[in-house]
């Protein structure tokens, strides 16, 4: 986090010093700052920040794709007369156990069309999810998709 702030600061310094307060310039500043920090890292000490950034970018791309796909699927269902849904509430046993992990996971699940985080069990070991498309009534498969898809990536990202 500290490193990210540094990065932001550098980017801002860049925009101020160049006098161009545009987004493009800021982005340039950010990228520049990232690399500067990456190099300076040798001097000021290693941080997980540098490996996280590509990871975050990768995850964002993955998630965005999922988002679009899922949205389209729901959209199709919404605009066509027939309901194709096979909804159900399923329990997802969690590997995530810190507050941040669980929250991020739940939010991402919710944000994806077709799944909706309902509740967390009292011992925080199970997340109940409302899923719209449980293909072929295969609850296990749906469960696996979420665990293997989102949860794994989130945990990778955060740990």
């Amino acid at each position: 986090m500290r490193m990210f702030l540094w990065n932001l600061l550098l980017a801002l310094a860049w925009t101020v010093s160049t006098g161009q307060f545009t987004v493009a310039n800021l982005l340039v500043g950010l990228v520049l700052g990232y690399f500067i920090l990456l190099f300076a890292g040798r001097a000021i000490g290693y941080s997980s920040y540098f490996s996280k950034v590509p990871q975050v970018v990768a995850f964002a791309l993955f998630y965005f794709g999922q988002l679009i796909l899922a949205n389209l699927r729901v959209a199709y269902d919404v605009v066509t007369p027939t309901h194709y849904m096979q909804p159900g509430v399923i329990a997802i046993p969690l590997d995530a156990h810190t507050d941040a992990e669980i929250t991020l996971l739940a939010n991402l699940i919710t944000l994806t069309p077709g799944t909706l985080a309902l509740d967390l069990s009292a011992d925080r070991s199970v997340l109940y999810v409302h899923a719209m498309y449980i293909n072929n009534c295969d609850v296990e498969e749906a469960r696996r998709q979420i665990k293997e898809g989102l949860e794994r990536r989130v945990l990778e990202l955060l740990r």
Partner: protein, 130 residues
């Protein structure tokens, strides 16, 4: 170029919004309405905010557009979760086509039936809203 991107983003955003609107009207139970509505609208809002960012291009505008987008993406799922959880806990009925309810089995949900005419409806005035 900017204008084209803006136009596309605006139209796509609007389309998502409309989708959300249709979804919230058409889907058969609360949870699916939420599924259809909240997310599409969030995405739609995101698109439209991006359109603003692209269109104006000034730092102040872009930062704010990004901030709003971030905020919408942060709050929307939390809100959805809160509502869904509350609705579920008071026994808002599930669509009759629902194939599984693992939560109810384990937590002894107030209403014991998943059908539209569930006893939950009768047991829970908040859901029934007479």
């Amino acid at each position: 170029m900017n204008d084209v991107v803006t136009a596309v983003l605006i139209v796509v955003g609007g389309a998502f919004m409309l989708l959300a609107g249709v979804g919230i009207v058409r889907m058969p139970d609360l949870f699916m309405r939420m599924q259809a509505a909240t997310k599409a609208a969030t995405l739609g809002a995101g698109c439209m905010l991006m359109a603003v960012a692209v269109h104006f291009g000034e730092l102040t505008v872009v930062t704010r557009a990004l901030l709003v987008t971030a905020f919408v993406f942060l709050t929307a799922p939390v809100a959805a979760h809160m509502i869904a959880r509350a609705a579920y806990s008071v026994g808002t009925p599930l669509w009759k086509g629902t194939i599984a309810d693992e939560f109810r089995c384990e937590n002894d949900r107030v209403g014991q039936s998943a059908g539209e005419t569930s006893t939950a409806q009768r047991a829970n005035p908040a859901a029934r809203e007479k």
